[in-house]
Amino acid sequence: MTVISKKMCMLGDFGVGKTSLIRRFVERQFSDRYLSTVGVKISRKTVHLKDVQTEKEQELKLLIWDIEGHTKFKSISPAYLQGSSGVLVVADLTRQETIDHLGDRIQEYREINPHGQVAIALNKSDLLEEEEVLEMKNKLNLPEAILGVYNTSAKTGNNVDTIFQELAYKLWLTNC
């Protein structure tokens, strides 16, 4: 079976947990210590996919670009987004402004990759009650054609595999 490689990016404000989500997904680890990412770090993980309808199976190597977070003082280089098939836009459920910036991040990505797949991770869901998370999710006002909004926790692992797996599956099916 040929392995397909797909580039996907992580976007979001600083400190929302992009690196932690990747670390949880790739290395099955988590650390509470905040380490600011500068530049970009590429991680790889091969996921096994199966189309339930056609029974077709596929190995897909995800090249996950962990791009430095947006800050008030610095926006990211659009070059990082070139050639990416999908993006995971991450916000921190405990910091409203990071949720407010989701729309901007999506637009930024779409300008470079109009057909790229977009999924949203509302991270640090372990710090909130389930009903609070639900309420915040309901209040979101996001553009259509989003693959999905997932409340995730890199700390507990909640929804982490799911969101990457779903995104990978979509990248394979749509062959972005």
């Binding site: 580039k7 600011s36 500068v38 530049g39 977070g69 070059a79």
Partner: protein, 503 residues
């Protein structure tokens, strides 16, 4: 190395490079370049560069544009790479066209990126802390401001440091007016709370729900239930927390209930006293009747007419007494039930007084001389005749009754004007003066109580209700009754009644 390819471009010595064709095949590369690749074993001439430099995946279109001359350069800045599983390096990767191929130049920018990392780490950490503090502060502020209870935080000396919305609302101050103000300006009646209690608090005791009088900025009095405790700030300085609940309304309602209960108890007492006194007053005439009836039954056929007549007279007198008593009780009862009211109609007051005098003169007999004196302006005065009758028939009958030796009784009525709070009002002043036995000083204060009779009445018949009725009627009229008296000389009652129709 492929000199032909490389000689087309000058490459500074600190840069590494590799040269690609349109299919990402490595055509040439600088010395030791493989050490910068992600997977060195996949690196080599003729190999697909995307295998060892995964950041090239997805750049197919970009590479084509460069080769076609549509794009001069493409640059990835700050790609991080862990070399030999330990050294973290940062690279800039720049693509340019070189002849019919593309060259990828690699610059090691680790030193600069490490500086950047240190800088951003600090800035972002601060940002996260500030965000968390802001969120927490916002959360706590929202809780405090939505509290229905009043909150004050003061210094040891009682100076207010923090207030909440409820405190501002209740005491009608603006926040800037409250900050720095002494709590003593607000709590007006509990010095120990302000000073002594603070010592208790410092000793670790909490104060639960103590009621204190407080005042608003406008001076309105409130009753607030305060609970107090002390906390230590991070500077080890104590801060005093006062949490209060406005209980003014609750206290007012409690006081009203208390008042109502007291009143009800008084009424109950009065009722029981009234019943016991009434029963007592009925017992004497009833006993007289019973005794006379029994005597007549047993001895009537043997007694002479004269003796029988004496007992029949006693029975009649006793029934009269009981009838009068009953009437008086009914009048008092009506007055106390609020069924008596002032209904003034135009009245020739002089004529009314004359008729009353004639009536009493007739029953009193020649031993008495009732002298009437009226001012000339009483021919059309709105007055309640029924109430006037209650007042003056009782006063005149008392004047006669308590002057056993007879004598002159003066009855006067005259219109007067007096200045009250409502301005000038016309009134009528009545006087009833006798030359009778007088009222002993010790009985004067209880003169208008039900069934109270002065010590010097001896065997003069009476119910002890007459003056109670008089007082009730005068009160109903919002009039004034007073008297002067001297033992053995006589008594004078003064009654002043407002002319209600003039209101």
């Amino acid at each position: 190395m492929n000199q032909t390819l490389r000689s087309e471009i000058f490459i500074p010595s600190h840069l590494k490079y590799f040269i690609l064709d349109g299919e990402f095949k490595i055509l040439d590369y600088s010395e030791n370049l493989e050490s910068f690749s992600e997977i060195p074993q996949e690196f080599g001439l003729g190999k697909d560069a995307r295998l060892s430099f995964p950041e090239l995946i997805g750049l197919e279109k970009i590479l084509l544009e460069i080769l076609q001359g549509k794009r001069n350069q493409f640059k990835f800045q700050g790609i991080s790479r862990t070399l030999n599983n330990e050294n973290l390096v940062y690279l800039d990767l720049i693509f340019e066209k070189m002849g019919s191929h593309a060259i990828a130049l690699i610059e090691d920018i680790t030193a600069m990126m490490n500086l950047n990392q240190t800088l951003f780490q600090q800035v972002n950490e601060n940002g996260l802390v500030i965000a968390e503090l802001t969120t927490n502060k916002d959360y706590i502020n929202k809780i405090i401001s939505s509290m229905g209870n009043v909150l004050f935080v003061t210094t040891r000396s009682g100076k207010i440091k923090t207030v909440n919305q409820a405190a501002k609302q209740l005491f009608q101050y603006r926040e800037e007016e409250l900050i720095g103000l002494s709590i003593a300006e607000i709590i007006s009646d509990r010095e120990e709370l302000l000073a002594g209690d603070r010592q208790k608090l410092l000793a670790g005791e909490a104060i639960e729900e103590i009621e204190v009088k407080c005042r608003t900025k406008q001076g309105r009095n409130l009753i607030v239930g305060f609970s107090c405790s002390v906390i230590q700030t991070e500077k080890k300085i104590p801060a005093f927390i006062y949490i209060g609940r406005d209980i003014t309304e609750q206290k007012r309602a409690e006081a009203e209930i208390e008042k109502a209960l007291v009143k009800e108890k008084e009424l109950n007492d009065l009722k029981s006293r009234f019943i016991s006194m009434t029963s007592h007053e009925f017992r004497n005439p009833l006993s007289s009747i019973l005794m006379s009836v029994e005597l007549l039954e047993n001895f009537g056929d043997r007694w002479p007419e004269e003796k029988k007549s004496k007992h029949l007279k006693r029975i009649k007198q006793s029934t009269d007494t009981m009838t009068r008593l009953l009437e008086d009780i009914l009048t008092i009862g009506r007055a106390e039930a609020g069924k008596l009211e002032v209904k003034p109609i135009k009245l020739n007051l002089e004529e009314f007084c004359r008729e009353l005098v004639e009536e009493f003169q007739l029953t009193a007999g020649e031993k008495y001389q009732i002298q009437l004196q009226c001012s000339t302006d009483l021919d059309s005065i709105p007055m309640d005749e029924k109430l006037l009758r209650h007042i003056f028939s009782n006063l005149l009958s008392n004047a006669i009754k308590y002057s056993p030796d007879g004598g002159i009784i003066d009855f006067t009525a005259m219109k007067i004007a007096s200045t009250g709070t409502n301005g000038e009002r016309e009134k009528v002043k009545f006087t009833v003066r006798d030359r009778g036995i007088g009222i002993p000083p010790q009985d004067r204060s209880r003169l208008f109580e039900h069934f109270h009779r002065a010590k010097n009445v001896q065997d003069i018949a009476g119910t002890g209700l007459g003056l109670s009725i008089v007082k009730k009627a005068v009160d109903l009229y919002e009039g004034i009754i007073s008297f002067t008296s001297e033992i053995g000389v006589g008594t004078t009652f003064h009654v002043v009644l407002p002319i209600i129709g003039d209101r």
